[in-house]
Amino acid sequence: MNAVIFFIFAASTLVGAGGVVLARNPVHSALFLVQTLLSVAVLFLLQDAELLAAVQVIVYAGAIVVLFLFVIMLIGVDRREALTETLRFQRPIAVALGAIVLAEIIFLTGHTWATGAATQSGVPITGSTSSGDLGNNIQRVARVLFTDFLWPFELTALLLVVAVVGSVVLARGSGDRSERSIEEPSSTADSESAS
């Protein structure tokens, strides 16, 4: 079984790597890179390196590739992209997927908050440090992350949001009032500058 999974994802890693080099569109290249990185994460899982797999997904597939995509989208805007959405149902699907993830998290925590006193299902946060059973790597990292380092962890979320806002503000074609008012021909900007 392990051998089968290994060959499937090893092949997937190679196909993704080839796609990164061969794809014409830089966005497709970046997405092939995600495929490679996720496949490598599965290979890590096969070696019982859960934390490494999680970090591979979060840091490489999550952060770095999203950064690539951001740079490509913000800087590579030489030709006018069609602003109409070609996938018609992507917005409802995005909302639905978000709701499902939220429901999943709430379900996994057993209807208590991450900081709550009683966690009925899932991994108990409460004091297993004294009993000697510290759990595996992921459980230990998670325990520290959601107890001692909860506050900086939460702040990092806001920091990332602001980093996105800041990069969009800087990279957006223009922050000019005049050009904005061309885009949205509402009279507010004009009456503002007139008054």
Partner: protein, 485 residues
Amino acid sequence: MNPVIDYHALAPEIVLSVTIILCLLVDLFIPDRPRLVPQLASLGVLAAIIPVLTLAVSGTDVSMFGGAFVVDNYALAFDGLFLVVAYITLLVSFDEIADGDYYGGEYYVLLLTSVLGMVMMASSRDLVSIFIALETISIPTFVLAGWRKHDTKSNEAAIKYFLIGVLSSAVMLYGMSLIFGFANGTKLSVISEYSAGSPPALFAVAIFLTIVGFAFKVSAVPFHFWAPDTYEGAPLPVTAFLSVASKAAGFVALLTIIRFGFFNSSDSWQPLIWVLAAASMTFGNLAALRQTNIVRMLAYSSIAQGGFILVPLAVAGDVSGPSAWEAVLVYLMIYAAMNLGAFAVVMAVSRRTHSTEISSFAGLGRVDSVNAVMLSLFMFSLAGIPPLAGWFAKFVIFRAVFDAGTTAAVVLGVIAALNAVVAFFYYSNVVRRMWFDEAPEVVSSPRPASVALTLAIGITVVVVVVVGVYPEVFARLGQLAFASG
């Protein structure tokens, strides 16, 4: 192991976070009411002051997340300082952002996020928290410095600030990782225990790298070279914010990490801070003498003022009581009021003259005597002339120096005293130009200062005058902040 969350103690941060998210959403969904976001932002900042006050009245210290986050008088004093500074920065921002031909909704989001980082910084007692707070302060300001996207000077300001900021973070992180390796923990209490033993020589290198990282943030000489260009290129409200709030946050970080972490190895950090203080005062003042642009002059002056704030830190290891810590807090509060006030007047005047050259302030006394009086007050206060607040800031520093009483402290005191004399020349030069020189030709299209800008000038001038005449107000605050520790 469950973290105990005291929502009352976290209330200032939570109120600010909610305000940030609200501003972002309001800006997105209600774009045709541009006044709404700034109003919301200033309401949020004022609302965040309320829990700070109630926490101060309740008077119980709260420690959370294993001692990484502490709310005590020390933290609350700086929380209050940051929030008031944020409110005044918002007041001076309204006109500039509304008139500047640049869209403004995100400006307030970024500014408030930076303030959130500062409020968090005051409570952080852990290297990880301090670092995250510092990044939360810095990253929004990189964007704010480049807010005028079509102005190459603003671009230069942002790029320089960003590159130096990232470099300094890297240096600081390297130092912090070494400290973590030695002390086997990131909490300042753990580091303090470790340094009370006999740490190896390499521990001093770790302290050196960490403090150098902070020296970039507070633009201490020789790590200051980004400051004048960034201050000149950034929009004026952002410059005021950088030179007051951002710098104060750097000092709070330095103060916290030295007071709670490194204090026992004072052999390692005292000489370093001593050199930084002496170099910043001397170089900042000498460079300020030669400036013809008032914003550049204020930039170099703020480097020099930063040197003065480093003086009590450089002698803190030899002072038995809390007077050195108090001096930092009191100096920061007074510096915030007079520097913000000076920038507010420069903004009000430059709305009329469209220039920040010192020559454009010539003859201001006859054209616009109210602003000329205000600017004279702030300049004399920065120079440290009684009875304006600046003298008391200088006084607390010299008191800390005498409390230390060592040779190094006295030498540093003499350097500070000489620098205070040098500083008087360039501050009074502006005043002389305003009252004794002829006014240049009046430039057309004056834009009158708004109520908000006038209010900002009013608040700061009241602080400068009242504290100067009755310094007990801030002195008492300083004592309260350090009473228990």
